[in-house]
C-alpha cells in the first residue's frame, strides 16, 4: 500500500463566462497539457490511470464517459468516470494510488456551462421525479428555503451573507483566472432582485467555463517528480438524505461528516488551530458560512460574526476563499471542487501571486454538489 499521496501537477484552462472559441475537449486538452508539464510526466508513458468527474445531463450527452479519454492522452488506459464533484474524483485517484497498484493517476473536471441553454431547468431534473418534480420547484427555491432555515437556526443575518459576496468578489480581483471580480458594497448585493426569499440573485454564483487537471502520485514517485509535493492528508465525503421531505435544512451534516472523516485521517483534533486557510463551497453566499460551521472552524452560529470581524479576509486569522470562490471564479459544475483544491495547491506551493497568503501550511477544501443534493466532500492539503 502507498500510505501517502501527493498532488504533483496542476493545470487549468479558463475560467470565463463563455468560451465559444473552444470545445470542452479543447479546454480539457489545454488543462491537461499544462498539468502534465507541471508534473513533468508523459501521459502515455507515466500516467497509469485516469479519472473524470462528469454528469450526462450537464454535457448533453448520454454515456458521456465515452468522450473522456482522447483529450487526456488516456485512450487504451484504465480510465473511468465518477458521477460526482471534483473532490470525489480526487478521493478516487487517492484510493487508486493507496491500493499500491498505481503510482501516478490524473483527475480531470470541466465545465462548459455556457453550452447549456437552460441550466436551471436541467438541474431541476435532479429532483425526485415522483414526489418533488410535480411541484415544479426551481433549485434556487430549494436553496432559498435552506438559507431561510440556516438564518433562523444560526442567527446569521442577510447582511452577513451579503458580506460574503463582497469579500469573495473583491478577492477575485487579485486572481487573474477569476472572471467575476468586483468592488461592491453590501448594499449593492442586498438591493438586487430576490431569487427566492431570503436569497438574493447577487448571492448566487454565476456559471463559468473551464477545465482543471491534477496529477497525483505516491510519496515515492512524488519525491522524484517535484520539490513541492502537496500532500493529501485527509479526504472525506458523505451523502445525506437526497429527499427534501426528511433532510436537515439548517445544517450541512454531509459537510460535517465528510470533514470529520478527513480530519481523522489527517490527525487533526482541533481544526481552528491546525487549519491555516479554507476554500469552501459558496455556490450561494450563505453556504460559505454554513460550511465553515460544519467544518468546525467556527462554532455554530458564529461564522457570520467572524466574517464581520474580518477573520475570513485574506489578512484574517482564517482566510476563506482567497481565490474568490465560486462567487468570484464562477461555478464550474463538476469541476467546482477541483477549483477550490487548485487554489489550495497554489497557496501551499507559494505560487498564488498577488493573493499569496504568508506561511500557509495546511488548507481545508470543501465542496457541495448543489441544490437539490445534500452531499459533498472535504480534503485536507498541506505542503
Amino acid at each position: 500500500m502507498n500510505e501517502r499521496v501527493a498532488i504533483v501537477g496542476v493545470g487549468w484552462a479558463g475560467f470565463k463566462p463563455i468560451s465559444p472559441e473552444l470545445s470542452y475537449k479543447e479546454l480539457t486538452y489545454q488543462a491537461a497539457v499544462k498539468a502534465y508539464a507541471d508534473a513533468g510526466v508523459d501521459p502515455r508513458r507515466d500516467v497509469e490511470s485516469f479519472v473524470t468527474v462528469a454528469e450526462d445531463f450537464n454535457e448533453g450527452t448520454s454515456i458521456f464517459d465515452e468522450y473522456t479519454p482522447d483529450q487526456l492522452g488516456a485512450a487504451l488506459k484504465p480510465m473511468h468516470t465518477i458521477s460526482g464533484d471534483g473532490l470525489h474524483g480526487l478521493a478516487t485517484a487517492c484510493m487508486l494510488i493507496r491500493t499500491g497498484r498505481f503510482a501516478i493517476v490524473a483527475v480531470e473536471g470541466h465545465s462548459k456551462a455556457s453550452n447549456v441553454l437552460s441550466l436551471h431547468q436541467v438541474s431541476a431534473y435532479a429532483q425526485d421525479p415522483v414526489l418533488n418534480r410535480p411541484l415544479r420547484l426551481n433549485n434556487h427555491f430549494i436553496a432559498g428555503m435552506e438559507m431561510n432555515r440556516y438564518l433562523h437556526e444560526s442567527g446569521t443575518t442577510r447582511a452577513q451573507c451579503a458580506a460574503v459576496v463582497v469579500k469573495n468578489r473583491r478577492n477575485a480581483l487579485a486572481n487573474p483566472s477569476a472572471p467575476y471580480g468586483a468592488e461592491l458594497e453590501p448594499e449593492d448585493v442586498l438591493s438586487g432582485p430576490t431569487l427566492a426569499w431570503p436569497l438574493g440573485s447577487r448571492e448566487a454564483a454565476e456559471p463559468s467555463d473551464g477545465a482543471i487537471v491534477m496529477v497525483l502520485a505516491s510519496a515515492e514517485r512524488a519525491r522524484e517528480l517535484t520539490d513541492k509535493p502537496i500532500w493529501i492528508r485527509g479526504l472525506g465525503w458523505c451523502s445525506d438524505s437526497p429527499s427534501l421531505e426528511n433532510r436537515e435544512w439548517g445544517r450541512a451534516i454531509y459537510a460535517r461528516q465528510a470533514a470529520r472523516m478527513a480530519y481523522r485521517q489527517a490527525g487533526i483534533g482541533y481544526p481552528p488551530k491546525e487549519i491555516d486557510f479554507a476554500e469552501v463551497d459558496d455556490t450561494y453566499a450563505f453556504k460559505e458560512l454554513q460550511a465553515l460551521e460544519a467544518l468546525e472552524l467556527f462554532p455554530a452560529g458564529e461564522a457570520g460574526r467572524m466574517l464581520e470581524a474580518g477573520a475570513t479576509l485574506p489578512g484574517g486569522e482564517l482566510p476563506v476563499n482567497v481565490s474568490g470562490g465560486s462567487l468570484g471564479m464562477g461555478h464550474l459544475l463538476e469541476a467546482t471542487g477541483l477549483a477550490r483544491a487548485l487554489e489550495a495547491v497554489l497557496q501551499l506551493r507559494g505560487e498564488a501571486g498577488a493573493r499569496q497568503l504568508k506561511g500557509a501550511k495546511v488548507g481545508v477544501v470543501q465542496s457541495w454538489r448543489g441544490a437539490p443534493t445534500n452531499c459533498g466532500a472535504v480534503a485536507i492539503l498541506s505542503n
Binding site: 500500500m1 502507498n2 500510505e3 454528469e55 450526462d56 445531463f57 450537464n58 448533453g60 450527452t61 448520454s62 454515456i63 464517459d65 465515452e66 468522450y67 473522456t68 479519454p69 482522447d70 488516456a74 485512450a75 487504451l76 488506459k77 484504465p78 480510465m79 473511468h80 468516470t81 465518477i82 458521477s83 460526482g84 478521493a91 478516487t92 487517492c94 484510493m95 487508486l96 493507496r98 491500493t99 499500491g100 497498484r101 436541467v122 431541476a124 435532479a126 425526485d128 421525479p129 479526504l235 472525506g236 465525503w237 458523505c238 451523502s239 445525506d240 438524505s241 437526497p242 429527499s243 451534516i253 454531509y254 461528516q257 465528510a258 472523516m261 485521517q265 454538489r369 443534493t373 452531499c375
Partner: protein
C-alpha cells in the same frame, strides 16, 4: 509491496423483470437488503457505498446517483457512483475493491441498479444521444445498428456463420431456465428459433439480443480481517482490470476488442495468472448480443481469434464443459438491466465458487472465475477475477 486482500462475502439479487411498481430506490433497497442479510450484516456495518447505474436518460433523472443514494443504503455515508457505460456492472465491484484495498474502509456495499421500463416507448431511444453531437448524431445511428456493424465485421473477418453465433443464445437461454431471477430462460429454444426471429438490423435478429428490463444486484466486499470473521467461505477478488479506448470508434478494427485484451492482461497480471485457459474455471463474459460472448472470449485470450465459435460447437462452453461460459444464463437469458446485469455476473461467480449455485452449479469444485463487461462505443472492457 503488499496489497490489502478484498473478499466478496455476500450477494443479493432481485428478479430481472419489468418492475412497474417499484422505483429505482426500492429496487436498490431490495438488492442491498438481500446482500446484507446473506452475510448477516446490517447497514451499521457498512463503511462506504458504491453505486453503478447506466445513463440518467433512462430514468430522466439528473444526477441519478444522488437520487438513488438513500435507497442504496448510503444515508450519511461515504458514497460514490462510478460510470463506464455498459462496463459499469463489472466496474462497480472494482470501485468497491479500491475503496477497501485503499485501507480507507473495511466493508463496502456495492450496488448496481437499472430501471429501463420507465422509458417510452423503448429504452433504446435513450441511446440516440450517446453519439458525437457533430459528426454522428445527424446520421441518427442507434446501438443495434452499430453493433450490427461489429457483428458483421466479426463474421466477415473469420468466416463465421449466423448459426455458429446463434448457438450462444441457445446455450445461455437454456442455462437461464435454471436461474430463479431470469426473464428469458427457455429449455426448448433451438438455433432455428434464433435464426427465424425477426431481423432488427442485419445480421442481428431479435433473439441474438438480450432484452432490456429492470432489476438490481448487490454484493458486500470486506477486507481480509473482517471477511474471515464474517464467513468461512470468502471469495477473493484476485485481479481487476479496466481499459477505455478512444471515442473515435469509427477508426477501430471492430473484428477484435483489444481494449478487452488490455483489461484482461491487467487483471491476469494482478492475479498472477500466466495461462488463463488453464487457470480460469468459469467465465462470465458480457453477452448483451450472442456474438459478443465469442468476441469477448477472444479478447480475454480464452480462445484464439476467430476460434471461439468452435468452442461453443464442441460443447466446451456448456455448464458441464471444460470451460463453462455464462452458466448463469448471461444477459441473453437472465436479462439485461444494464449495470445490474454486469454485477449479476459477479454474484454468479460468488455463488458458483461457494458451491451455492443450486441447479446452475458447475461441477468439479471450480476454484476461479472471471467476469467481464463491455460498453460505451464498443470501447471499454472491465474484468474481475475471483477465486476461493
Amino acid at each position: 509491496m503488499t496489497m490489502r486482500k478484498v473478499a466478496v462475502v455476500g450477494a443479493g439479487m432481485t428478479r430481472f423483470v419489468r418492475r412497474a411498481l417499484e422505483t429505482g430506490k426500492e429496487l436498490s433497497w431490495q438488492a442491498a437488503r438481500m446482500a446484507l442479510d446473506s452475510c448477516s450484516l446490517s447497514l451499521d456495518d457498512v463503511d462506504a457505498v458504491c453505486l453503478g447505474t447506466a445513463p440518467d436518460a433512462f430514468d430522466g433523472v439528473h444526477m441519478k446517483g444522488e437520487y438513488l443514494s438513500d435507497g442504496a443504503g448510503a444515508w450519511r455515508k461515504p458514497y460514490m457512483r462510478s460510470y463506464v457505460g455498459g462496463g459499469t456492472g463489472v466496474f462497480v465491484p472494482i470501485q468497491g475493491w479500491y475503496h477497501v484495498a485503499s485501507g480507507l474502509f473495511d466493508v463496502a456495499l456495492v450496488i448496481a441498479e437499472e430501471k429501463m421500463s420507465s422509458y417510452h416507448p423503448h429504452a433504446q431511444a435513450a441511446f440516440l444521444t450517446i453519439f458525437d453531437h457533430t459528426t454522428e448524431r445527424p446520421l441518427k445511428p442507434n446501438l443495434l445498428w452499430i453493433f450490427a456493424l461489429e457483428m458483421n465485421r466479426y463474421m466477415h473477418t473469420y468466416g463465421i456463420s449466423k448459426a455458429d453465433i446463434a448457438r450462444v443464445a441457445v446455450k445461455n437461454k437454456r442455462n437461464a431456465a435454471d436461474h430463479p431471477c431470469a426473464l428469458l430462460g427457455d429449455r426448448e429454444i433451438t438455433v432455428e428459433d434464433v435464426l427465424n426471429s425477426e431481423v432488427l438490423a442485419w445480421p442481428v435478429n431479435r433473439l441474438d439480443v438480450s432484452p432490456v428490463t429492470d432489476g438490481a444486484v448487490a454484493v458486500v466486499l470486506a477486507a481480509e480481517h473482517v471477511a474471515r470473521r464474517i464467513t468461512d467461505k470468502p471469495v477473493w477478488i484476485e485481479g481487476v482490470g479496466w481499459c477505455l479506448d478512444t471515442a473515435h470508434w469509427t477508426n477501430r478494427d471492430l473484428a477484435y476488442p483489444r481494449y478487452v485484451e488490455s483489461a484482461a492482461r491487467m487483471a491476469y497480471e494482478m492475479a498472477g495468472i500466466k495461462e488463463p485457459r488453464k487457470e480460469i474455471n468459469i467465465v462470465e463474459p458480457y453477452d448483451p448480443f450472442d456474438y459478443k460472448e465469442l468476441h469477448h472470449l477472444e479478447g480475454l485470450l480464452l480462445a484464439d481469434r476467430g476460434q471461439a465459435p468452435q468452442l461453443v460447437a464442441d460443447g466446451v462452453t456448456e455448464r458441464t464443459g471444460n470451460m463453462p461460459v455464462c452458466p448463469s444464463g448471461g444477459l441473453l437469458g437472465v436479462g439485461n438491466p444494464i449495470a445490474a446485469a454486469g454485477l449479476m455476473k459477479i454474484a454468479e461467480l460468488f455463488w458458483q465458487l461457494r458451491g451455492e449455485a443450486g441447479a446452475r452449479q458447475v461441477p468439479g469444485n471450480p476454484r476461479r472465475g472471471l467476469a467481464q463487461a463491455w460498453g460505451d462505443l464498443m470501447q471499454v472492457g472491465t474484468v474481475v477475477i475471483m477465486g476461493r
